[in-house]
C-alpha cells in the first residue's frame, strides 16, 4: 500500500478514470497548464491535452452549466471549483439544472457530473474565502454530497463519483491536501453512501466529517487518557443522503451523541444528525445530544479570532465531560 497525500490521491483517481474513459474530462480555473491550485490535476494537461483538461475563464455558473450540458450527451465532466466560496456563483446550474433535470425530464436526461471543491477555513483567508458550504449542498434533493477525511476516501469517492449517474458534489478541504495516508495500490471504489466507525468506543459517539473527524479523534484520545472515557468516532463521509442506520446503530450502542462540525450551527450537519437521532433512536439516549460548532459569525481575518471562531479539541472534550456529568 502506498502512502499518498490527499491531492495525490485525487490526482490518481482523475488519471485512472481519464485513462479508462475518453469521455471523462476535467475543467476549472488554472487546472490545466498550472496544474491546479492544490495540484489535484497536476500533469494531466500534458498527458490528456487541452480538449480534456480545460482551463476555464472565471465563469463559474457558465462552465458548470457547460459541463452539465455536455454530460447530457455522455461526457463525464469533473469540475473543479477553485474554492467553495465561488461555488455560490454556480448554484443556479447545480441546483436548478443538475439536481433536477432527471426528475423534470421524467428520467430522460441525467447529469452525471462531479463538482469538486475545497471548503473550510484555512489560514486567515478572511470572510469571503472561509465558507463552509456543505450544509447548503446537502439540503438539495437530487444531489449527492460526499466529503473525504482521508486520502483513501478522496481517491475512492472520486472514482465512484465519476462512475455515478447522479450529480455528485465532493466537499474537500483547503487544509487537507497535504494530509498523508495509505491508499491501496489496487484500484477501488469507495461507497458513495454510508458512514464509518473509525474508532470504537462505548461511552459516547462523536460524529465528524472531513476535517472534524480528525478533531474528534484527537478529543477521543484525550478523553481516553485523561478521563477514562471511551468515545466512538463516526466518520460521516456521506452528507447526502446521511447514513440513518449507521447513526442510529452507534447511538444505540453508546447512548450519547455529540456532533463536531466546522460550520456555524444553524441548519447544518449537527442539526440534521440530531433530527435523525430523534427520529430513529430517541429512547436510546441517556443525555441530550450536543453540537460543537463554529461561532455564528463570518470568519474574522484576525488570527486569534479566526481560531476562536472555530471549534477546538478542548471544546469537544468539554462538551463530552458536561454531557457525561448529566
Amino acid at each position: 500500500m502506498a502512502e499518498l497525500m490527499y491531492w495525490e490521491a485525487i490526482r490518481r483517481a482523475h488519471d485512472e478514470e481519464m485513462a479508462r474513459d475518453p469521455l471523462v474530462i476535467c475543467m476549472g480555473e488554472d487546472i490545466g497548464v498550472a496544474g491546479g491550485t492544490y495540484k489535484a490535476t497536476k500533469g494531466l494537461f500534458d498527458k490528456y491535452g487541452p480538449e480534456r483538461v480545460i482551463d476555464t475563464p472565471i465563469s463559474e455558473n457558465g462552465f458548470t452549466g457547460l459541463g452539465i450540458g455536455a454530460s447530457f450527451l455522455g461526457v463525464r465532466p469533473v469540475i473543479e471549483i477553485m474554492s467553495v466560496n465561488f461555488a455560490w456563483l454556480a448554484m443556479d446550474q447545480i441546483f436548478n439544472t443538475a439536481a433536477k433535470v432527471r426528475y423534470m425530464s421524467g428520467g430522460q436526461l441525467t447529469a452525471p457530473i462531479v463538482v469538486r471543491s475545497p471548503g473550510g477555513t484555512a489560514h486567515q483567508l478572511g470572510a469571503q474565502h472561509s465558507a463552509r458550504m456543505e450544509k447548503v449542498f446537502m439540503g438539495i434533493a437530487g444531489l449527492r454530497v460526499v466529503t473525504p477525511s482521508t486520502p483513501k476516501q478522496a481517491y475512492g469517492l472520486l472514482k465512484s463519483a465519476i462512475r455515478c449517474e447522479d450529480p455528485v458534489f465532493i466537499n474537500e478541504h483547503e487544509l487537507m491536501y497535504n494530509l498523508k495516508g495509505e491508499v491501496p495500490d489496487q484500484e477501488f471504489f469507495h461507497p458513495l453512501e454510508g458512514s464509518e466507525v473509525v474508532r470504537e468506543g462505548r461511552d459516547v459517539t462523536l460524529f465528524g466529517y472531513n476535517i472534524s473527524v480528525h478533531w474528534a479523534l484527537q478529543a477521543a484520545e484525550v478523553l481516553s487518557k485523561q478521563h477514562g472515557i471511551e468515545a466512538e468516532v463516526v466518520d460521516l463521509y456521506t452528507l447526502s443522503p446521511l447514513d440513518r442506520a449507521g447513526i442510529a446503530a452507534s447511538v444505540s450502542k453508546t447512548h450519547r451523541a455529540i456532533i463536531v462540525e466546522e460550520a456555524e450551527p444553524a441548519v447544518g450537519v449537527g442539526s440534521e444528525v440530531m433530527a435523525i437521532i430523534n427520529e430513529e433512536c430517541f429512547f436510546e439516549l441517556d443525555a441530550a445530544p450536543l453540537r460543537v460548532s463554529a461561532v455564528n459569525v463570518p470568519i474574522p481575518y484576525n488570527r486569534q479570532l479566526e481560531k476562536a471562531a472555530l471549534p477546538a479539541v478542548k471544546d469537544v472534550v468539554d462538551a463530552v465531560l458536561s454531557q457525561v456529568a448529566k
Binding site: L89, Q128, Y301, A309
Partner: protein, 351 residues
C-alpha cells in the same frame, strides 16, 4: 498639468511601491497572512485614476486594492494595521488585506469574489443618479473578471439607465496563471463595452499621465450625465498573483522586459525629473504628453535628483511608521466581531 500634481503622483507611486514591498516582507515574517495580492507594476492606474477623481466619488475595488486605498487617503498605518488584522485597521481587523473599507472616504470596499463588484458599483451609481449629484463611481477590475456574467449584466444596466460609473480594467494579461488569450475570445477588453454602446478606450496603464488624462476626460462625460465609460489600462504585475503564487508560468523574458522598460515608477520618474526628456527628445516627439511635459520643463525645474532621493527617503519613513502603528495596535476581541456583525443596523445615513 500642474507640477504639484505631477509630484504628488510620483510620490504616490513611490509610496505604493515601498508599501507593497514592505507588505511582502511582513508576510514573510508572519505578520500578515491569508492571500496577499500585491500591486507593483500597476501603480500608474490607481494613481492616475484616483488623482483625477473627486473626494465625493465612490470607489469599488477588488482584493488587489491596497494602493487604491492609499491613494484615496486612508492613512498607510491604518491600511497596514488591517493587513496585520489589528483593531485600528480600516475594517477593524475583520477584513484583512482583501477587504479594506472606509465609508467616510467613500472607499466602498475591497471584494474577493471575482465579478461581485460590477453590480454593486452599478447600484451605487444608481443611488447617486437618484440623488442628482455630480458624483461618479469608479469600479476597478481585472482582465479575468470580464468573463463573469455580472460584467455583462452590469454594463447593460449601467448603459440602459445612463448610470455614472467609470469601469476601469486593470489588464495585466493574466487571470492567475491563465494568459488572456487562453481565457478570453476577445483579448481587447474595451471592445466588449461597444456591445453596450459604452464609450471605451484602451490606454497605456504604465503611463500615469496617460491614465490621468483619460480619466479626467471620462469623468467629465460621466458628470455631464452621459452615462458610463470604460477604460482599459494595459499593465503587468511584477510579482506572482498573490504571495502564495511564484508566478512561474510566465516567461522570464516577459517579466524582465516589463521590469526593464515598462516599470511605471521608472516612467513616472522619467516624466518628472528635470533631466529627462532632453530638449532634442522633446523637440523630436510630437505626442500630447511630451508637449505638456516640455511646457512644464520650460516653466519650472520640476524635480532634481536630490529631491527625488529625498522623496524616496520620506516614503520609506512613512512605511516604517505604518508598520510600527500596525504592530502597536491591539488585537480585536470576539465581542468586536460580534459587534461588527450586529452594528450598523440602525441609523443608516446616506453619505
Amino acid at each position: 498639468m500642474e507640477v504639484d500634481l505631477l509630484k504628488t503622483m510620483l510620490r504616490d507611486m513611490l509610496l505604493a511601491r515601498a508599501f507593497e514591498e514592505r507588505a511582502a516582507q511582513e508576510y514573510a515574517q508572519g505578520n500578515i497572512a491569508g492571500f496577499l495580492h500585491l500591486y507593483p507594476g500597476e501603480e500608474a492606474i490607481a494613481v492616475g485614476v484616483l488623482r483625477a477623481a473627486e473626494p465625493a466619488d465612490y470607489i469599488v475595488s477588488t482584493y488587489r486594492e491596497h494602493v487604491h486605498a492609499l491613494v484615496r487617503g486612508i492613512p498607510p498605518g491604518v491600511v497596514m494595521a488591517e493587513l496585520f488584522g489589528k483593531k485600528d485597521g480600516c475594517s477593524g481587523g475583520m477584513g484583512g488585506s482583501m477587504h479594506l473599507f472606509d465609508r467616510e472616504r467613500r472607499f466602498m470596499g475591497g471584494y474577493a469574489i471575482v465579478g461581485e463588484t460590477f453590480p454593486v458599483a452599478t447600484g451605487i451609481g444608481y443611488a447617486v443618479a437618484m440623488r442628482r449629484l455630480p458624483e461618479a463611481v469608479i469600479c476597478f477590475f481585472g482582465d479575468g473578471a470580464v468573463n463573469q456574467g455580472t460584467f455583462h449584466e452590469s454594463l447593460n444596466m449601467a448603459a440602459l439607465w445612463k448610470l455614472p460609473v467609470l469601469f476601469v480594467c486593470e489588464n495585466n494579461h493574466y487571470q492567475i496563471g491563465t494568459e488572456i488569450h487562453r481565457h478570453s475570445a476577445v483579448a481587447e477588453v474595451w471592445k466588449r463595452a461597444c456591445g453596450y454602446r459604452i464609450p471605451a478606450k484602451r490606454i497605456d496603464g504604465m503611463d500615469v499621465l496617460a491614465v490621468h488624462e483619460a480619466t479626467v476626460a471620462a469623468l467629465e462625460q460621466i458628470r455631464a450625465g452621459n452615462g458610463p465609460q470604460l477604460l482599459e489600462c494595459e499593465t503587468y504585475r511584477f510579482r506572482g498573483h498573490s504571495m502564495a503564487d511564484p508566478g512561474s508560468y510566465r516567461p522570464k523574458v516577459e517579466l524582465q522586459a516589463f521590469e526593464d522598460n515598462e516599470d511605471p515608477v521608472k516612467i513616472a520618474i522619467a516624466e518628472t525629473v528635470a533631466a529627462y526628456p532632453t530638449g532634442e527628445q522633446i523637440a523630436a516627439a510630437g505626442s500630447g504628453n511630451i508637449e505638456r511635459l516640455s511646457g512644464h520643463l520650460q516653466q519650472s525645474e520640476l524635480l532634481t535628483a536630490a529631491q527625488l532621493e529625498a522623496m524616496r527617503k520620506e516614503v520609506a519613513e512613512v512605511v516604517e511608521e505604518a508598520v510600527h502603528f500596525a504592530a502597536r495596535s491591539p488585537e480585536p476581541a470576539m465581542e468586536d466581531a460580534q459587534a461588527a456583525l450586529d452594528c450598523n443596523r440602525h441609523d443608516e445615513v446616506l453619505i
